[in-house]
């Protein structure tokens, strides 16, 4: 052990890991490289870049919430089904009427929060493994939804489509919203008591409990955030698709992909360490990958292979780095 003591606190961003900058660089390199290679340099102009960022929105928002769940040492497999529920509920309640927009949004957020509370309560009160608890809740949601709706239900009014299609100048509302939400999430994680408690519970739940932290409330809070983010993603997809269908969450594989990008972003699957900027960088990598394959005109299946390889490689790299990190 070294005798020296660094008494200068490192800046907060350093407490995460080196993952975000590396992933960012890798994504940009991939995107720019493929654009040049295929000669589609117009993809590097504003429209192309905006398109890339728009690819990030749906997965990005739900992954922000998933980051909270995973940092707290939990996980949420019900997000994909929650997204479907939110989208269908929104478009069903609105039924094309602008005056129902507010009501629909409020109902969706309330239902999402409730699902989060249920997830959290099952995990922290009944002590059911989070994997099983949220898998079960997800199946229940999907079952209820599929029993009630078999196809696109209702539609969203043109005013609501602005969520997905409107923009401030060149920046779409949705992209702006993603980054605002990410900044907000980052603020909550680093600068609030709730954030500190999430890291404590994820780092050592028993230690946190014995230190006087109400770990059940913290876990539940993380799941409420996670379900709310799924609800917001559902609203965004309803707006983008102009209507909600009971399969859009599943088709997007938002449950597994959100977990994948969180882990790629350097958050420990066991909890206690990580952050949203890494997650966002992971989302960007996936989006760049999609865009690159589109530019190359290759079928989507090799993309899956590559995604899988990236997830495994990322976790392997983190594991080796952590093990090698001996002071």
């Amino acid at each position: 052990m070294s005798e020296s003591q660094a008494l200068v606190p490192a800046p907060a961003w350093r407490r995460g890991s080196a993952a975000p900058p590396l992933l960012l660089a890798g994504s940009i390199l991939l995107y720019v490289g493929v654009a040049f290679w295929t000669g589609q340099t117009k993809m590097l102009e504003t429209d192309g870049v905006i398109g890339l960022l728009e690819r990030m929105v749906a997965l990005g928002i739900v992954a922000l919430g998933q980051t909270f769940a995973i940092i707290a040492g939990s996980i949420d497999l019900s997000v994909a089904n929650m997204i479907s529920v939110a989208a269908v509920l929104a478009s069903f309640i609105m039924h094309g009427r602008a005056d129902m927009m507010l009501a629909a949004v409020l109902v969706v957020l309330a239902v999402s929060a409730l699902v989060g509370v249920v997830n959290g309560a099952i995990i922290s009160r009944l002590k059911v493994n989070p994997f099983i608890a949220t898998l079960g809740v997800g199946l229940i949601l999907q079952g209820l939804l599929s029993a009630s709706f078999t196809d696109f239900a209702g539609s969203v009014p043109r005013e609501f489509q602005a969520v997905a299609y409107g923009s401030f100048g060149v920046v779409p509302y949705s992209v702006a919203a993603l980054f605002v939400l990410a900044a907000l999430a980052s603020f909550v994680l680093w600068a609030t008591r709730f954030g500190a408690h999430l890291y404590a519970v994820g780092g050592n739940a028993e230690g946190a409990r014995l230190a006087g932290i109400r770990t059940d409330l913290v876990t539940t809070g993380a799941h409420v955030v996670c379900s709310l983010s799924a609800g917001v993603t559902g609203l965004y997809l309803a707006s983008r698709l102009r209507s909600g269908a009971p399969w859009i969450g599943r088709d997007g594989v938002y449950d597994l992909e959100s977990i994948a990008v969180v882990v790629i972003g350097g958050t420990l699957l066991a909890g206690g360490r990580g952050g949203v900027w890494g997650t966002l960088a992971g989302v960007l990598l996936f989006a760049s990958l999609d865009a690159a394959f589109n530019m190359m005109g290759v079928s989507a299946y090799p993309k899956l292979v590559l995604r899988g390889a990236i997830v495994i490689a990322a976790v392997a790299v983190y594991t080796v780095r952590t093990r090698g990190h001996v002071a």
């Binding site: 005798e3 350093r14 407490r15 408690h197 006087g212």
Partner: protein, 505 residues
């Protein structure tokens, strides 16, 4: 007993770990059919010696002979093949596998390449019968009581035809009836020419079961004698006798202050009739054997396994520790005996770890880095406690045990509770850091805090405490003043007189 070659001889064994001489020229032997008790305090070197015998560690120097032939075990499997079986304190049965499957784990008999379940069952039944047990081989191990699991462990040892059986505190988790049954079994096996190394610090047991006794202290053999020459009093003296230099901080010259904590007739599943007081400025030691309930008292006070009856007062106010949060709010704090599991956030920074308690009680909307939780205030505390790390951003898992303990102390000093409970404050901490931790405890008491120190380390109990409470079987067995003889504490903890008579009869 010396006519033939001994079944087991360990000669001049020396083993050094970084910074610690664990064993220094230790010799130990066991004749065929002998029960040889091995005793010594925590850290005396018993477990290192056993691990060398079991092939887990290799000695730096020295030789091991079995029946006169020199052997060297490079791996635990080599030791097992040579006929050495070790039954650890924590049983290793697979709870969801049957008794027969457990007994033949790794040595499953096969027929035509397939598992021969019938032979397994029959052999298991035969082995268990030899041990006087009627447990069915089909039973799941997890469904058995601890006592029966222990017998299955012994059967497992016999299945590999063990000639040397090491039992590491086998009765620690057993009640008196099961314990004496196990002792009978050990004697019976010894008549079948099995050599038994019996590790225990329960004096009455040793008196009942052993032929010879060896005492280790600070990595050296301090005595080896036939039982007849080793009455309990001599054993205890051999175990604890040591020089106490200025290792422990001087006790306060001031009389203690007002009563900080009162516990009256309190009890729960593990404890009954607990009544005591701790005054401000006092360090009260809580001693007792493993399972005596001394840790249960700490857990009850901090609300982890709360008292279900009786009352508790802090500073004269009646309080209830329903859960850890309520207990801490009432003015209590506890440093766990298991830093890794219950204390530290291993992969988080030293600083984050030091802020944990303050963060737990921060106002809901406040910043977790403001006021007493600011990095500056936290760093100041860590520097005061002389925490050594490459930086306070370093993950706490990379710190030494002593430094980790200081980080936890820093965490509690930030909260500065009225009553601070230290559980095994120096477990896994080197000698120099131990003295530092005692000093911090004494300074904290001198600042008017009340301290309860739960410890299995007798010298520490006697050297640091102002008063000593001794626990036995879930109740207070008695109280001694600070500086009492370790023998007296031990005597209260093991109920030397009455129990030895009861067991001998």
């Amino acid at each position: 007993m010396e006519q033939a070659a001994l079944a087991l001889e360990m000669l001049n064994i020396t083993k050094t770990f970084p910074g610690v001489q664990a064993l220094d020229d230790v010799s130990f032997g066991c004749a065929r059919g002998e029960v040889h008790a091995l005793c010594g305090e925590n850290g005396a070197g018993k477990s290192t010696l056993i691990k060398i015998l079991g092939g887990v560690y290799q000695p730096d120097s020295g030789t091991i002979r079995l029946d006169g032939r020199e052997v060297a075990f490079s791996h635990p499997i080599a030791a097992r093949r040579a006929g050495i079986s070790i039954i650890h304190q924590e049983l290793s049965l697979l709870p969801n596998r049957s008794v027969a499957e457990n007994i033949f784990l790794g040595i499953e008999p096969t027929r035509f390449g397939l598992l021969d379940r019938r032979t397994m069952r029959e052999e298991a039944r035969r082995l268990l019968k030899r041990l006087g047990s009627s447990v069915a081989p089909e039973t799941l191990a997890g469904d058995l009581s601890i006592a029966h699991q222990q017998i299955v462990e012994i059967a497992k040892a016999l299945a590999v035809d063990a000639r040397i059986l090491v039992m590491d505190e086998p009765t620690a988790a057993l009640d008196r009836v099961d314990a004496s049954r196990l002792l009978d079994l050990a004697r019976k096996l010894s008549t079948e020419d099995v050599s038994i190394v019996f590790i225990s610090h329960r004096m009455p047991e040793i008196q009942t079961v052993a032929d010879r006794v060896t005492v280790l202290k600070d990595g050296r053999t301090v005595m080896t004698a036939p039982l007849a020459e080793a009455p309990t009093s001599r054993l205890v003296r051999a175990m604890v006798g040591r020089d106490l230099t200025d290792f422990y901080p001087p006790r306060s010259s001031q009389p203690p202050g007002a009563v900080a904590l009162t516990v009256r007739h309190a009890g729960n599943k593990r404890l009954h009739g607990i009544s005591f007081e701790v005054r401000a400025g006092e360090i009260v030691g809580v001693a007792g054997l493993e399972g005596s309930g001394k840790n249960a008292v700490a857990r009850a006070l901090i609300g982890d396994a709360p008292f279900e009856s009786g009352g508790m007062e802090i500073g004269g106010r009646a309080v209830k520790s329903r859960n850890p949060r309520a207990a801490i709010q009432a003015g209590l704090g506890r440093l766990s005996d298991d830093r890794k599991r219950e204390g530290l956030l291993m992969q988080q920074s030293v600083r984050d770890n030091a802020m944990l308690i303050e963060r737990a009680f921060a106002p809901p909307l406040g910043s977790p880095t403001a006021g007493p939780m600011s990095p500056e205030a936290t760093d100041k505390r860590l520097i005061q406690l002389d925490v050594r790390a490459t930086s306070f951003d370093q993950e706490v898992q990379f710190l030494s045990g002593g430094n980790q303990q200081r980080v936890i102390i820093a965490r509690w000093l930030a909260r500065n509770p009225e009553i601070l409970i230290f559980c095994e404050p120096t477990r896994g901490v080197d000698v120099a850091a131990k003295a530092e931790i005692y000093k911090i405890m004494r300074e904290t008491a001198n600042r008017g805090r009340a301290i309860l120190m739960v410890s299995s380390d007798l010298p520490e109990i006697v050297g640091v405490s102002d008063r000593i409470l001794v626990m036995r079987e879930g109740a207070l067995a008695g109280e001694l003043s600070g500086g009492a003889a370790e023998e007296d504490v031990m005597a209260l903890a093991v109920a030397q007189d009455r129990e030895s008579q009861a067991m001998a009869s």
